[in-house]
């Protein structure tokens, strides 16, 4: 084990995979200068010359080019500087990458990872802070992956790069520098397998992305109330590991689903509905959802704190469900 930051874990995974497979290349805006906006692509240009492409500011072009390269057997790793910019490439993601395999009757394959730095980071307001996981969960053919720790980031990223199908890889900007232990050697995490981050008996918190750490902190606070909560990290939202989530909820009888994105029609809502459908007879209380209100991300820090859910938001939600 060694301790490293989330973005360092991604970088290590990228370097390992590029050394292993010549078909992998990087494409995106500003990915060479300064090691990329988030330092994830640092060192790639020097170590793998000719396999990293700094592009014009042209997201539809970037993803379109990546789709074609993938169809021709390459494995592009696309960086979109801010998730928000994926809206400029929605045809390429939704109509092209996601549907090529199906429309071609299984002939075409788009092994591509789109890295999506998301969520509130520095205070950059409504066009640089979105999450939108559920937009892509709704599209068949896409995999939606959301790591919460450096270890999962590395393991899921390596798996995503090797996947035969497109992966929307969500990287919450606020946890790029958070540190954690990453196993030595080859570390792979399967897509579609949730992880129980903390075991408990009284309630299940299903937490997405940065809400995992906030939920683990909440769990410690809740010990003072005498509550022993379990924290499940889905790690991938599509495919969704319903078995792990449902077996935990069936055990505890209570579910609190937490994400940073808007609750309305968001990822937490799909998970809540799935729990309601599958675990109804085991539930001792209604399923609770924690997330942001249905508003664009504001600029002022004073406003943002009322939008992004905190550890305290989780504590309150659990207390309400337990009472």
């Amino acid at each position: 084990m060694k301790t490293m930051a989330f973005n360092e874990a991604l970088r290590e995974g990228l370097h390992e995979e590029m050394a292993r497979d010549d078909s992998i290349f990087v494409i995106g805006e500003d990915v060479i200068a300064h090691g990329g906006p988030y330092k994830v692509t640092e060192g790639v240009a020097e170590r793998f010359p000719g396999r990293i492409f700094e592009t014009p500011i042209a997201e539809a072009g970037i993803v379109g080019v990546a789709v074609g390269a993938a169809l021709a057997g390459m494995r592009p790793v696309v960086e979109l500087m801010y998730l928000d910019f994926v809206t400029c490439a929605m045809d390429e993601v939704v109509n092209q990458a996601a549907k090529m395999r199906y429309m071609s009757g299984g002939q075409g394959s788009v092994p591509m990872v789109i890295r999506l730095p998301c969520g509130v980071g520095r205070l950059l307001a409504a066009q640089h802070s979105q999450i939108m996981e559920s937009w892509f969960m709704h599209v068949p053919g896409l995999q939606v992956v959301v790591p919460s720790t450096p270890a999962d980031a590395k393991g899921l990223f390596k798996t995503a790069i090797r996947s035969p199908d497109p992966v929307m890889f969500f990287e919450y900007k606020r946890i790029y520098t958070s540190k954690g232990e990453v196993p030595d050697g080859e570390h792979m995490v399967p897509i579609g397998l949730a992880d129980v981050k903390r075991e408990g008996e009284d309630a299940t918190i299903i937490a997405i992305g940065p809400m995992v750490q906030k939920s683990l902190e909440a769990a410690i606070t809740l010990e003072d109330d005498g509550y022993d909560v379990e924290v499940v990290d889905p790690r991938s939202l599509s495919p969704l590991d319903t078995d792990t989530i449902c077996s935990s909820v069936s055990k505890t009888g209570r579910a609190i689903v937490c994400g940073e994105d808007s609750v309305f029609a968001g990822a937490v809502s799909e998970i809540a509905a799935m729990i309601g459908e599958n675990c109804f007879h085991d539930l001792k209380a209604p399923v609770a959802r924690v997330g942001s209100p249905h508003v664009p991300m504001p600029f002022s820090a004073e406003l943002v704190k009322h939008v992004v859910p905190s550890s305290e938001s989780v504590v309150s939600a659990v207390q309400a469900v337990m009472s």
Partner: protein, 326 residues
């Protein structure tokens, strides 16, 4: 590069195969066997055949919503294409794509595309793949004049030029963007003129004259294959049918259509070119047409006798069957 008699005969045969494939598909539509709609390539046959006659089997082609011609010219089988139009399990895409998504990956024909201008980026991507692998494969993107209005045109051709990729961008300018005459909604008459913005050659040819198309494509393909980068090749052409089946075509006169069919039919023009050189006898002509007609009847029979897809097929091919780690 001059057209030989052999190449002319191959092109002439393929033009008839495209024409008769679509006429057969139209007939099957009227019988209720082919459903959805069809975007007919009739009238534009010289473009697909003239370009594809310059390509190798391993070269990449991506098309449009109007791609029956591109598929057949790249070598796709008419029977499996017809089965796709019927929605049968034996179709090129197992009945999951239909007319707008016909593809044959075994021929590196990576598909028609239902979104205007959406193939330009991916074709630039297949060209990037060839360059990264160090092969000398060429990628060809067919798109209409309407696609030249899309941002994808600007974004992808910029990258194709920036990285000197082996790609030929072929604009089939048929004068209409769905129901609107091109110049009602465009400001540059010749799409080839737009090439200057990307620092690549722009060439405009008479898209009804397959000799012109072939020769311009030969140069563009050679340039791409030898590492010279992209060319924007515009073929001025005309669609004999409307935008899609059922189009009332109030935006153009019957006289205009008749004039093109009578005097600007690419098949007639090539036949004359070949007869002038004694490359096509009356008997050969009859035989080529009869064989193409028989091929399309057999295609319909194949489609008719083929099984329908099953309920289980609905959920396959969404993602790879086994998500195993490579």
């Amino acid at each position: 590069m001059d057209l030989s008699a052999d190449i002319c005969q191959k092109i002439y045969t393929d033009m008839w195969r495209i024409r008769l494939f679509e006429e057969e598909a139209d007939r099957q539509t009227n019988l209720g066997n082919v459903v959805g709609t069809l975007h007919m390539y009739c009238g534009e046959e010289a473009v697909a055949t003239g370009v594809c006659a310059n390509l190798r089997d391993d070269d990449y082609v991506l098309g449009t919503h109007r791609s029956h011609g591109h598929c057949l010219a790249k070598g796709a089988k008419s029977d499996r294409m017809m089965a796709e139009l019927w929605g049968k399990a034996t179709g090129t895409c197992k009945g999951k794509g239909g007319s707008m998504h016909v593809a044959d990956f075994s021929l590196n024909m990576l598909g028609a595309n239902g979104i205007v201008g959406a193939g330009i980026g991916p074709t630039t991507g297949t060209a990037l793949a060839s360059k990264l692998r160090g092969t000398d494969q060429v990628s060809v993107c067919f798109f209409g004049d309407g696609a030249a209005a899309r941002g994808t045109f600007h974004e992808a051709i910029t990258m194709g030029s920036l990285w000197t990729l082996p790609v030929v961008y072929v604009c089939e300018n048929n004068g209409y963007q769905q129901w609107v005459p091109r110049m009602n909604v465009a400001v540059v008459d010749s799409v080839a003129d737009m090439a200057a913005s990307y620092a690549i050659p722009g060439v405009s040819v008479d898209g009804q004259d397959v000799v012109e198309v072939y020769e311009a494509a030969a140069e563009a393909v050679k340039r791409a294959r030898e590492g010279g980068g992209p060319t924007l090749l515009e073929a001025r052409t005309y669609r004999f049918y409307g935008h899609s089946l059922g189009d009332e075509q109030q935006y153009r006169s019957a006289e205009e259509v008749d004039e093109w069919k009578e005097n600007r039919d690419p098949i007639k023009l090539l036949a004359q070119f070949m007869r002038d050189r004694d490359w096509l006898t009356e008997e050969q002509d009859q035989s080529i047409q009869a064989e193409a007609k028989a091929e399309m009847s057999a295609a319909t029979q194949f489609a008719e006798e083929s099984p329908w897809p099953s309920a289980e097929d609905v959920t396959t091919d969404v993602v790879a069957p086994v998500q195993e780690v490579a």
